[in-house]
């Protein structure tokens, strides 16, 4: 059992150890869909939802696997649950908002291979969080992911107006920006211990 308070877990997952900028989790969608603020906000919401559901499911699976004494099946069952949750979200978005479905494109099914989501499931198991702590942790991670994505999208919208030399354009400048953003987030270190 981990005795960290809920608030400190939330702030830790969201700011101090931001999943994208401190742990480098979910870099692919971070670089891929951070072109427009609008899209990135919705992408963040989708990821947060998948995180919450899979975190709850992972808690149950962990208990079940402990009970049947088969911890080596953990990884495989986590990934299976995440894949089905993503399928669910995909169907939901397709029905509710076809425009958003188109905007997210390939990155929607790729949420399955978003390391951030599997990492939430793995970290909460490693740190032996309780059920409530797990939910707060997943929420914090999701909010942190959305925050990083939206900030990055804002920066990139400004970047389009900048006059850059040819070889810097594309991934190189985006990564440099991400690095600067990561330096900013290092300022949150030591907020909680």
């Amino acid at each position: 059992m981990n005795d960290a308070s809920l608030w400190s877990i939330f702030i830790n997952a969201c700011l101090v150890n931001n999943f994208v900028l401190a742990y480098f989790l979910g870099i692919c969608p971070f670089l891929g869909v951070s072109n427009k603020r609008d899209t990135s906000l919705r992408m963040g919401a989708a990821v947060t939802f998948v995180m919450l559901v899979s975190s709850m499911a992972a808690y149950g699976i962990h208990l079940l696997l402990l009970w049947v004494d088969a911890p080596y099946l953990e990884l495989i069952s986590f990934i299976a649950v995440i894949a089905s949750t993503v399928q669910l979200v995909e169907m939901f978005i397709k029905k509710m908002s076809p425009a958003l479905f188109k905007a997210l494109g390939i990155f929607l099914p790729l949420i399955t291979t978003n390391c951030a989501i599997l990492a939430v499931a793995l970290f909460q198991t490693n740190r032996s969080y309780s059920f409530l702590q797990s939910i707060v942790f997943a929420l914090g991670a999701g909010v942190g992911f959305t925050l990083a994505l939206v900030l990055m999208a804002g920066l990139r919208e400004k970047l389009e107006l900048a006059n850059l030399p040819g070889i810097v354009k594309g991934t190189a400048i985006t990564l440099t920006l991400a690095g600067l953003l990561s330096v900013c987030f290092m300022g949150f270190a030591g907020l909680f211990n």
């Binding site: 870099i27 692919c28 099914p109 399955t112 070889i167 690095g179």
Partner: protein, 216 residues
């Protein structure tokens, strides 16, 4: 970044070299970035992570290519992920058995090899369409290319951030370590610098080719 992406129709003999050079997963395709940035703060970590990923990539390529005709198209992605997860679990326990310190240093990132887009990408786009021999070549090439990418980052970050290379002290006592390179921002900066370097090279090469055309 999209230098070699359009060369989908590759000759048989080039499967291996293409993965290492022309279609290098880290620098050209920019795939599987999470472990590339996260565990490359020292050379040893980068080497271990690279070897683990290459092993999983090779094995999953072989298995996926063997079962490609039995698996129905609708459930192929799930099947591939389960195959990959199996090998990752094997690697996870293997590293734990070899060196507990290494296992602690890499942490959850060994398990996270499952969601490395590079491995699923190769399974889906190559191994599920080609025979075993070519898939082995492709897996080896991509794996080694990925390993080289990780080492490029890991070595730069360890030398600048800690003054050591694979744990050997390079500069003596007076070296003032550039700590930020070991921390998360350093990963972003180092990768950006490498991409810039390769962009510069490919631009210079394109310019030269253009000049030769004009001279003719």
């Amino acid at each position: 970044m999209a230098v070699g992406l359009e060369q989908e129709a590759i000759e048989d003999t080039n499967d291996f070299l293409d993965g290492v050079l022309k279609r290098n997963p880290v620098f050209v395709q920019v795939l599987g970035m999470c472990p590339v940035l996260a565990v490359t703060n020292t050379g040893i970590n980068a080497l271990a992570m690279g070897l683990a990923t290459a092993f999983v990539l090779l094995m999953s390529n072989i298995v996926v290519s063997l079962i490609r005709k039995i698996v129905p198209a609708q459930v192929r992605i799930v099947t591939f992920i389960l195959v990959i997860a199996t090998f990752v679990t094997i690697v996870d326990y293997l590293i734990q058995a070899i060196s507990l310190d290494l296992h602690r240093a890499l942490g959850a990132f060994i398990s996270l090899i499952v969601v490395n887009c590079l491995i699923l990408g190769r399974a889906e786009s190559f191994a599920s369409k080609h025979g075993v021999v070519r898939s082995i070549k492709d897996g080896l090439g991509m794996g080694i290319g990925f390993l080289i990418g990780l080492l490029c980052l890991g070595m730069v970050r360890e030398v600048t951030g800690n003054g050591t290379l694979f744990g050997v002290n390079l500069f003596g006592e007076s070296f003032q370590p550039w700590t930020v390179m070991m921390l998360p921002p350093g990963g972003f900066f180092t990768l950006a610098a490498w991409l810039l370097f390769f962009n510069w090279i490919s631009k210079r090469r394109a310019d030269k080719a253009l000049q030769q055309e004009v001279a003719k």
